[in-house]
Amino acid sequence: MAENSVPRRVALKVLGATLGAGVFAQALAPLKQFTEGMSLQGFLQKHYKELSPRELREVLRRLEEETEQRYGAEVTIRDLRPTPGVQFAYALNLSVCIGCRRCVEACHHENNHDRASHNSYIRVLEMEQGSLDLERGDANYDHAVPAPGKFYLPVQCQQCENPPCVRVCPVEATWQESDGIVVVDYNWCIGCRYCEAACPYHARRFNWRAPEVPAREINPDQAYLSNRIRPQGVMEKCTFCLHRTREGRMPACLEACPTGARVFGNVLDPSSEIRWVLEHKRVFVLKEELGTRPRFFYFFDE
């Protein structure tokens, strides 16, 4: 080996290292686009439950500004808390549901879902009469409804009392509130999708891309924990439209239902419609054997 081989080798190594670093920086260049839309405050934002009232106000204002910048829409993002003495429950009359998917559509618009994927928190299964076996259901039917010999099973978040999705979240980005609604802090979720694997009802959705909604179609009535436009790479789910229901209003899917198959209300109020249904109809829940204790009930007319 030549005398000068060592210095030459060192020089080559330095050259190689410099070249490598350059290529490495180039390889990661797309990350710039990822970090561009990110603010330092956004990056350092604390968990929803740890925000002081002042910090929360600042966060809401920042999110409103970001929505204006990115989507060109003026929106109001509020922080709505559960009302003491209220526990929500939902029931759905399968004898009346005709499978028209108007609830699916209403959810899509109310919750500012991505237009391209036509996302919605509700999926309607066309089921064969005489069977509750989901394996025989079909979510992709596209013919006149109600089809003979079929019934329709809309499925959305069941707001379980024992939610498997909440238990598995590694960072407590999802939790159950006192009115029974399971919410997600979209600014805390790390996007591991463990909750999506844990949910037995296909109720959770992931933002595979940043949602796209035209400015004039954006629903400006938004809440931090519900229908504000979600960031890319985080989980989302049905919140029983808490931006409406925590104000006493009906969820959008119920208002859209032309047949009145949907019944919603405060299960702690003995005079409520939902209580009447639970007391007088033979209701059942999906996958009861899993012990999730849904707050979403189904029933048939006698």
């Binding site: 998917r101 992709n140 409804v145 032309p258 007088h280």
Partner: protein, 208 residues
């Protein structure tokens, strides 16, 4: 929609609705929007906002073609002309003449006179013989369709909009005829909203 502090009505009362047979007008999006009471801060728990049954916009069993497409003709257009000497009711639908000829009827084996007054088709009567104006049609429906009426009263049949919490806002409800044509009440089949396309979209995503 009148907003006021009324006492709770256990049974829903229709408020002078004019009739329509324009089936599914609500479905087609003609219904008035949901009442919104963003400013209504009512803290008295006993105070209740009313439940208002939707007033079908117009009434007709006749539709005609016009420049604007199919148009429903209100009953009063014709029936007001012979208020003094109303035409007698035929025994069966097939015997209908004039503008109503050929009307589709599929409501069991019920003769016309079971619901309509024999001497004045614009008025109804109950099984007891008590005469009802058209506006009270829901009382007529519920004398046969008890389970549906009961479910309706308890909010588990028939669409609604507004507030689940009536201490904070009113509620609007559908009328029977918003969805059911009284002469052919079976809900017709129609094309649903499009099926999900989430997976197709993902497969078409760029940089795949």
């Amino acid at each position: 929609m009148a907003r006021g502090l009324q006492t709770d009505a256990a049974v829903v009362r229709p408020e002078t609705p004019r009739w329509t047979l324009a089936l599914g007008a609500w479905l087609l999006g003609c219904a008035p929007g949901a009442p919104r009471n963003g400013d209504g801060a009512v803290h008295d728990a006993s105070a209740r906002f009313p439940v208002v049954v939707h007033r079908p916009p117009s009434l007709s069993s006749i539709e005609v073609d016009s420049d604007a497409g199919r148009v429903a003709i209100p009953c009063e257009n014709c029936h007001s002309l012979f208020r003094e000497n109303p035409p007698a009711l035929p025994a069966r639908v097939e015997e209908l003449r004039g503008p109503h000829a050929g009307m589709r009827f599929a409501h069991g084996a019920v003769p016309c006179a079971s619901c309509h007054e024999r001497t004045d088709a614009t008025r109804l009567h109950l099984a007891t013989g008590e005469v009802l104006p058209m506006t009270e049609a829901m009382s007529l429906c519920r004398q046969c369709h008890g389970p549906q009426a009961r479910d309706y009263d308890h909010g588990s049949h028939g669409g609604m909009r507004g507030y689940w919490d009536r201490s904070r806002g009113p509620r609007a409800r559908n009328h029977c005829v918003d969805c059911h044509d009284p002469h052919a009440p079976h809900f017709p089949r129609f094309q649903p909203m499009p099926p999900p396309r989430d997976t197709a979209w993902l497969r078409s995503a760029p940089h795949g």
